[in-house]
Symmetry: D2
Subunit: 312 residues, 4 copies
Amino acid sequence: MKHDPLELVVQDIAEEMAQALDRGRVADYIPDLASVSSDHFGIAIVDMEGRSFVAGDAQMQFSVQSITKVFALTMALGAVGDGLWKRVGREPSGSAFNSIVQLEWEQGIPRNPFINAGAIVVSDILLASHEPSAVIAEFLRFMRMLTGDDTIVIDEQVARSECETGNRNVALASYMRAFGNIHHPVEKTLGVYFNQCSLSMNCHQLALAGRFLMAGGINPDTGLSVVTPGRARRILALMMTCGHYDGSGEFAFRVGLPGKSGVGGGILAIVPHVASIAVWSPGLNERGNSQLGTLALERLVQRTGWSVFEPN
Amino acid sequence: MKHDPLELVVQDIAEEMAQALDRGRVADYIPDLASVSSDHFGIAIVDMEGRSFVAGDAQMQFSVQSITKVFALTMALGAVGDGLWKRVGREPSGSAFNSIVQLEWEQGIPRNPFINAGAIVVSDILLASHEPSAVIAEFLRFMRMLTGDDTIVIDEQVARSECETGNRNVALASYMRAFGNIHHPVEKTLGVYFNQCSLSMNCHQLALAGRFLMAGGINPDTGLSVVTPGRARRILALMMTCGHYDGSGEFAFRVGLPGKSGVGGGILAIVPHVASIAVWSPGLNERGNSQLGTLALERLVQRTGWSVFEPN
Amino acid sequence: MKHDPLELVVQDIAEEMAQALDRGRVADYIPDLASVSSDHFGIAIVDMEGRSFVAGDAQMQFSVQSITKVFALTMALGAVGDGLWKRVGREPSGSAFNSIVQLEWEQGIPRNPFINAGAIVVSDILLASHEPSAVIAEFLRFMRMLTGDDTIVIDEQVARSECETGNRNVALASYMRAFGNIHHPVEKTLGVYFNQCSLSMNCHQLALAGRFLMAGGINPDTGLSVVTPGRARRILALMMTCGHYDGSGEFAFRVGLPGKSGVGGGILAIVPHVASIAVWSPGLNERGNSQLGTLALERLVQRTGWSVFEPN
Amino acid sequence: MKHDPLELVVQDIAEEMAQALDRGRVADYIPDLASVSSDHFGIAIVDMEGRSFVAGDAQMQFSVQSITKVFALTMALGAVGDGLWKRVGREPSGSAFNSIVQLEWEQGIPRNPFINAGAIVVSDILLASHEPSAVIAEFLRFMRMLTGDDTIVIDEQVARSECETGNRNVALASYMRAFGNIHHPVEKTLGVYFNQCSLSMNCHQLALAGRFLMAGGINPDTGLSVVTPGRARRILALMMTCGHYDGSGEFAFRVGLPGKSGVGGGILAIVPHVASIAVWSPGLNERGNSQLGTLALERLVQRTGWSVFEPN
């Protein structure tokens, strides 16, 4: 940040976003998402000094959805190490989040862990020989540890809806199972996946959860390592190239930060060694990423110079 | 850089690369590239203080090829501004550098300016109402200005070979012309493109040419602005997400710097506000990017902590 | 037929096939198919006069597999009429029998009823509000009626194996359900599909079952109409253009008859108003169609002049 | 034909077509096609006895376009025999007439000789070591011989327009040349192709030209063989499975005859040993085939029972 106190910056941004007219389109594939108003906007920044700056609906719970893919990947890398990359690629997909075309061309190996197919493989890895409920409990403990907040829960109503409408994900999982890249029964693997996606958080909690990625792998609350610095760096690289589905190039172009979006309208963005940022606004752009969330991050980076491509 | 004097670092890297056994495969689609030995390796770093650190074959000329796409894009943005983005996208392609499939799906709009189709549109924009020879002369002046070196030339033998073997590029250009996205006769547009690609430089010159991207758009020789800071930042973002064809994710994962590779075996990588780096080794990996060039940059980043995702 | 008595022709063909060296490759995705020897070859011809000509293993049971798609389509057209074509196309697919790519491009509408996806929609139509077991019982009655043979059964061991290894078909069905083109739970629809495919018949029975297509829709045993003449004609047209997956063009080119193949090695081919022909040999060519079955039909047509494209 | 004298049938059909409201959309990519009124309809039938039955605008010249692919294929098979099939496939494409996607997947080998890419390869084969003008002269002689009509010419205005707007075809040819499947300079090969497509005929002439396919390869005027009976049969098979681009399945389903359409609105259809039929109406359906031409053939087959799938 160059000139502005961050309090003022987040306030300004929240005010501008409140007045935005083109707010995108709220996801409507499940009632729990469709019923959220596109009027909401929240932002939270947590910095290396442990300070928090919040504005708007930063304390309102929303469905974290695909942003959980970052945390599930972190857990799975902790469990199986870089062997994970034999089952998932590291390249942008060049297609929509739920495309099945690429899976046929690449024989069941998803392009990266942040598209649905890749995240389902990550769920399958986490499942190992456990029951889905045990894996989800472990995932929840992980998220509570990262945030230092034991109130974080999974929205079971959302999880049920995801499960009921999840035919495309059943298709993806079954298809990968046909290629041998899903090792457990599809319903178990998807049990993990659907519950993980249904995590409920607010912007402040999400920014707190992202701190280890800001801080070279260290959880600032405990000083303990969540991942090695090298792994933190590589997760950020994946967020930069693959974190916004087929809008990842555009996000890098406009914002210049590693980030991960979710269909609930949230985005987690990381300024290495500086800040962990969460924004939320439910309306999505045509690529499925938060319309105002992206705009807010663009404004923030303009005011602070926080782009990783900014030479100062 | 943390501990090592850069002289030592580049020397170490050059020595390690000299002994590497798996050197990739030299491009063989034209004799001028096929005849280059994969034994070569060069590295050059120019920093913000204007110091140069070179090792290996850093003074040996090589065919810059697709790395010129960064400079041509810079020129074209200077000429027509962001209107350029109506004719070229900003997303990773998810496919090979010369794929024509995506062009059919997206009605003649290439995914980004760093795949062949996108760079051909950029050539078409540069052509405007001029003759190809005038555009190439202008391009050469631009490159000489960026490097402060008037000895830089285009290898006309390479240009002729490119032209003779360029049927895929004729196909790409003709196809886009059918969609109205190439405005000039295909042979003129490709005249610009083939000559531009045939630029000959050495590592040191290439690192010098990249300085304006390191320095927020300023040419350090003159203190004058080549592009605005915002545009420099956005070009770097494109290099990060799209600079290595369908290996861009892997390069970001391993190296963590914005970079652009060429089929001649060169890579230009930028550490914002810190360094402009050029490496060269003719052997390519399976994605068409320099095998040892990538490895050398990975080593460099390990030694220096220069990844943009490194939190310190 | 021009010169040869058919007894002699089928005998000659069976002898030639017995000595063929390149017998293709037996399907191995389920044990019940993998364990069948590629040494087998059978042929049966039933003509308009009700005469039967058989040779080789014409009385040996084999898994009818995809040839059942012709009969299931016939039943479904009887049930819902041409409204069926709103949910299934009538074009060759230009891709493999189990490709999912086309489904994404065409939004869940399979290209034709003879690729897996299309046949699964047909199963879903047959299911209507019934239980899978009732639909299968009805299908079996239909096949027994067509052949006049009550011994025809479904191989339940094969059905179980199909179900266990059917992940690709689960993927296809789930994917189409996501687009709203499968109306029932995927496991019920596939329950019908897997059982239908597991029908067990011999060549003679299969040729008998095909008689209504030879005879303008009339069952010769009863003189009653199975389908209208126009519908019989249109089913034959579909067999011609789509009956051999991505080898349909080749089959038409070599044999010139409407036909339908199955992965068990059977082929049903129809000479309108002349003959219903079934051949069987388990080894498949690279397109998944019976290697010797195709060759045998080519020989038969050469001897008889039965191609629909033959001008006499 | 069952009941109706053919004079009456063609007259009835012409009258019905004159009153049709949905006449499709005239091709507009070149002025010479765009300026033709969709009001036109013509039909001509030539039978084995040499009788001609014509109605409507059967004597009006139109641009034969892709229907010439049948005749060019015939010539090329005569020149190089079945070796032609090493360079062109025999399967329906499952995609549009000018798609380039499949060429990338199948490494420059077009799926069949009746899509543009395949026909361009056929032109390249005809070119051999000759000049385009000599090949076109030979092609014209062939067409005049088949019809017994020396007035048949190529519309040079159309040929020029095709050439000027032929960027997609340049793309296809250049792309295949990159794969080594076009042996001559693209402009020469396309010189043949564009001129061939610009052949001008009327329905009666076209029906006459198709007689050798009706008559087992024999030219009825001379009694001499144009192709062997087997080759005639195989060309008809290709017309059945590939003659209407991505509407071939639909044409077979509705009409049940081997046919070939052109973007000028013509269709040639063959009833083996019975009739050669040409229809023409410039308005096209969404697959690029004549809207009323298809309907007229459907009516004709309903009245005559001429479908090859009709059992009597």
